[in-house]
Amino acid sequence: MTLFVVFGALALGAALGMVFSRNSVHGALLLVVNLGAIAGLFLTLEAEFLFVAQIIVYAGAIMVLFLFVIMLLGVDRSEPLMEPRPLQRRQLTFAVLIAIPLIAGLSATFAIPALTASPGALPENFGSPEALGQKLFRDYLLPFEVTALLLLVAAIGILLLARRRSER
């Protein structure tokens, strides 16, 4: 319970901070915090493997990549966050308008008993690598192979995109 509150608050705070940060590096670091908090939430939800995977892959690899690019492009200078007033206001209005139905819909879920009941008994190795592996290689074998291919395609694409055109 407390864990949920702590991690939840951390996640939300980091998220807001990232969105409103003026410095991209600050934003990236805040996102790392956010990802760590979410990893903690995974733990409270009995998903141990994902907790580790999130930290290693997301926070460790992806965010590092982000920071690389930020540093490379030199956009770490402070940028004017605030855009012309009327534009900002309009965007905020949009965001709020979009948020209302979502929150309303979600609040309605509190009334659904299925969602407020306590979760039933969980299988033995729920959340462990074995369980994940069993599911992955049995029921989701094809998607697994396809994502492998996807990664290959992505790698090739990046190679092509990042090539310097100076050898003309």
Binding site: F94, L97, A99, P101, A104, G105, A108
Partner: protein
């Protein structure tokens, strides 16, 4: 294959061949065209002989090619009927057409569209035969339209001449007016009888299955078509102008065949006119009025072909007079003889024109008797036939008509017919005297010469028929009397004939007086013509100007229609219809113009769109109520 089909197919084949390959044929086009019609003529003779071979009453032959339209109650096939009436017409049409084809090979020699001419002539013969042989009204109408088309094409054959082009247009449009009536009449008959078969219609008429009122209406409407096609009052105005076409065309179409289609129609549907005495009466009255009116106009006409045109109108009036009083046999008799002598006269006129470098005005003719003896001889025969001089054919046929009118006790019509006959004699004699007698009034440098044998021989052929044609229906005292009447009896009913010589004698006297009168004015003393003209004064002017009929039509009928057409074209078509269509186009363009701005290229705007859509979707799902 029954030779009857050959009658139809030969000219059609000729037309197709000539249209497709005519240009390359050169002079042989004339041979091909003539041969096609000759084959048809031979087939017609053979079929006619076969028909005679079949006994009385069993002569009609109905041949079915294929079903044309079977829709609901309507069952129309390509069916032809070869009975006494159509056999007669076939032989006449193909025979006269053949002679005219031969004549044309010389007359149209050197024309740049030589083969096209024969193609059109063949097509015309085909259409006319379709008309005559049709066993149902729809096929008849198809032939009717076909001859109208060919008439248009042939009148305007020299379409570089504006007068020819507008004459063709006029012919087509004026006959169209009549055709509307014909079409409505056909619709009416179909509604009343339930079939378009001619035999069906006639049976319904004879067994009293058609109400008298319907018969009257149908009869009048069909006669309207005849009024247009056969150039009666008030739709005769196209025929004089149609003389812009080549003389063979005038001979074939506007003397012997197309214009007789109206008479054929009335004779073919005679039970209808027997049923409705009103319709018959109208036909007779219109016929005789036209006869007189046209004859009057012919008396003041100076163009040789136009005189003959008015003469045709007048003679057709005689035929309708006969049909109107129920003497269908006499009407057909006159139709046949008229075909012979009128075609002959037109060909002779063509010969004269050729000899005088296309001169058509009688004022510049004269004294051709010596310069063109053969033409004069045949013209003399034709003159004798039309004025009704013994022993030529016209005497017998005209006498038959007038006698029939007298026999039916239609006194007023009788008197009018006699007057018309007198006028006929007068104007034809006038033509003869002005063209062939007296001293030459030719224009500078003209050297009239006789035409070649290719032109003279067909004329001679027609002259022979005009001379002896009377034997077809000789009156009482002669051997084999009334052969034609008896022959046609299965189709037109029994014909009754009066006794006595009273009528022929009266006619003969009147004719003689008229001829003498013409001689007195035109031949005896050339200057008398001017004197008479001066004495007549304003009457002369009015008649010369054709009673201003064309002008009246132009201002009261043509002008308003033209106004309406201009309105429809420039206001309705251009502004309303085009405006609506273009308006739709511009609405689409305008809408597209504003809508495309959605694609601003700004990613964040697109993101807003996506997010808004997602939110809407969630809202909708929530409202729908999730399980």
């Amino acid at each position: 294959m029954d030779p009857v089909w050959l009658i139809l197919l030969s000219p059609l084949a000729g037309a197709v061949v000539l249209l497709l390959a005519g240009r390359r044929m050169g002079r042989t086009a004339g041979l091909v065209g003539s041969a096609a019609v000759l084959v048809a003529f031979a087939a017609a003779l053979v079929s006619f002989a076969a028909l005679l071979g079949r006994g009385h009453g069993a002569r009609a032959h109905v041949l079915h090619a294929y079903d044309w339209a079977v829709i609901g109650q309507l069952d129309v096939g390509v069916t032809i009927r070869f009975d006494e009436l159509s056999a007669l017409m076939c032989v006449m049409v193909t025979g006269v057409a053949f002679l005219i084809h031969v004549y044309s090979t010389s007359y149209m020699h050197g024309d740049p569209r030589f083969s096209r001419f024969f193609a059109y002539l063949n097509l015309f013969v085909f259409s006319m035969l379709v008309l005559v042989l049709a066993d149902n009204l729809l096929l008849l109408f198809a032939g009717w339209e076909g001859v109208g088309l060919c008439s248009y094409l042939l009148i305007g054959f020299w379409h570089e001449r504006p007068r020819a082009a507008s004459a063709a247009k006029k012919a087509f449009l004026v006959t169209r007016i009549g055709d509307t009536g014909l079409l409505i009449g056909i619709f009416l008959l179909f509604t009343a009888v339930g079939t378009l078969d001619i035999s069906g219609v006639l049976r319904a008429a004879t067994t009293g299955n058609i109400a008298v009122g319907t018969a009257t209406a149908a009869g009048l409407l069909l006669f309207a078509g005849a009024v247009g096609k056969s150039a009666q009052l008030p739709l005769y105005v196209w025929l004089p102008d149609a003389m812009e076409g080549p003389s063979p065309v005038s001979a074939l179409i506007h003397a012997a065949t197309m214009v007789t289609a109206g008479v054929y129609l009335v004779v073919r549907l005679n039970p209808l006119y027997e049923l409705s005495h009103t319709a018959g009466g109208v036909v007779a009255v219109v016929g005789v009025s036209t006869a007189i009116f046209a004859a009057v106009l012919a008396m003041a006409e100076d163009d040789i072909k136009r005189v003959l045109a008015y003469s045709t109108v007048s003679q057709l009036g005689f035929m309708f007079l006969a049909a109107g009083v129920g003497a269908y046999g006499a009407a057909m008799f006159h139709l046949i003889t008229h075909a012979f002598f009128k075609a002959l006269l037109f060909l002779a006129a063509g010969s004269v024109m050729h000899g005088l470098a296309e001169e058509t005005s009688l004022d510049r003719m004269g004294g051709l008797r010596k310069a063109m003896p053969a033409t004069f001889a045949v013209t003399f025969v034709g003159w004798g036939a039309i004025t009704g001089v013994l022993p030529f054919a016209g005497f017998f046929s005209k006498d038959a008509i007038v006698a029939a009118v007298w026999h039916e006790h239609r006194t007023v019509l009788f008197a009018a017919a006699v007057v018309a006959a007198a006028l006929t004699a007068f104007y034809m004699s006038r033509l003869l005297f002005l063209a062939f007698f007296g001293s030459p009034r030719w224009s500078e440098g003209t050297h009239p010469h006789e035409s070649g044998p290719t032109m003279v021989l067909p004329m001679v052929g027609l002259a022979v028929m005009a001379a002896i044609g009377g034997i077809l229906n000789l009156p009482g005292p002669f051997p084999r009397p009334f052969w034609l009447d008896q022959f046609l009896a299965p189709v037109v009913g029994k014909s009754e004939h009066g006794e006595g010589f009273g009528v022929p004698l009266l006619l003969w006297t009147v004719t003689a007086v008229a001829i003498l009168g013409a001689w007195w004015v035109y031949a005896a003393d050339p200057s008398r013509r001017e004197t008479v003209r001066g004495r007549l004064g304003p009457v002369n002017t009015i008649v010369r100007n054709k009673f201003y009929v064309d002008e009246i039509y132009a201002s009261f009928i043509v002008a308003p229609l033209r106004l309406l057409a201009t309105f429809a074209a420039y206001v309705v078509d251009r502004r309303v219809i085009d405006g609506a269509v273009n308006g739709i186009g511009s609405v689409v363009t305008g809408a597209a113009g504003s809508w495309r701005r959605v694609q601003s290229g700004l990613v964040r705007n697109y993101a807003v769109g996506v997010a808004a859509g997602a939110a809407a979707l969630v809202a909708w799902l929530a409202l729908r109520g999730m399980p």
